[in-house]
Amino acid sequence: MSISTGPTSEDLRVIAEEVWASYLDPEGIRPLLLDYSPDEKLDGSDGEVSAAVSVTGAWRGHVVVACTSAASKHAAAALLGIGLDDVGGDDVADALGELANVIGGNVKSLLPEPSALSLPHVVIAGPSSGSRWPAVTELCRLSATWYDEPIVVSVLESTSREGASAA
């Protein structure tokens, strides 16, 4: 089923800014910059991390957070309150998964009910779009920069009944 309204890129901006203000940049020192994003750095290469939550029910699709490895380490350090050098691989997976969960949960509140949110799926050093999501259309996207690294949040709507469980 397709939806005619929301979520939009503006919704994603509001949600992301709340997440950054609460968890990733509470002091307002390193805000998410929305005007520029070198998306070409997110090309599915080894340096990419992505996390997704799937929504099933009255609306079916995925909310995906993708960023470079460098940005993901900054996110883990900020969320855990530890130094960059102390961030391990498990920290990155946990941090990006929780970011996807929080953003995805807020996106879900804009979607038709009833629906269910999955636990996050995290892929380190793999593609965030294209072949990983073969049966979707992109509903909206937020491209931003943090610590001079690109971060992309996208909402992908499933185009087939089977696509909803493709995560």
């Binding site: 609460s22 969320l79 946990d94 929780e98 969960n101 949960g105």
Partner: protein, 120 residues
């Protein structure tokens, strides 16, 4: 008082702990659980004075744990800290006996508003 924090994300358990401190509730004993089953077991064993639980967790969801606790006669004060808050979830949580739902992302002020009546 003893507070049990349940979330499958270690990052989020840490953020909840930090926010409790920022909200002025830093002096309490904290216990953690990383999935629904562990939450149920720890609640029975540790007898916390308050449970702060994620909704969506492996093994059992937070609402399933709350139902199981109430079915077993455990009346611990129970609140949700969750990324998804819909009207139907609020209704379900309230009907099952939850005291509050705090939406992620949250602030220390939101914690203070919900927890002051219990811990204040």
């Amino acid at each position: 008082m003893k507070i049990l924090i349940a979330d499958d994300s270690r990052v989020m358990r840490q953020i909840v702990t930090r926010t409790l401190r920022q909200a002025g509730f830093g002096g309490h004993e904290l216990v953690e659980a990383c999935d629904g089953q562990e939450l149920f077991d720890a609640t029975v064993k540790e007898k916390p004075d308050l449970v702060l639980s994620d909704w969506n967790m492996p093994a059992m969801t937070g609402i399933e744990v709350l139902r199981a606790l109430r079915a077993n006669g455990v009346q611990v004060p129970f609140g949700f800290v969750t990324s998804e808050v819909t009207t139907s979830m609020r209704d379900e949580a309230e009907a099952t006996g939850a005291l509050f739902l705090i939406a992620k992302p949250f602030t220390a002020d939101m914690f203070r508003d919900s927890l002051d009546p219990i811990l204040g």
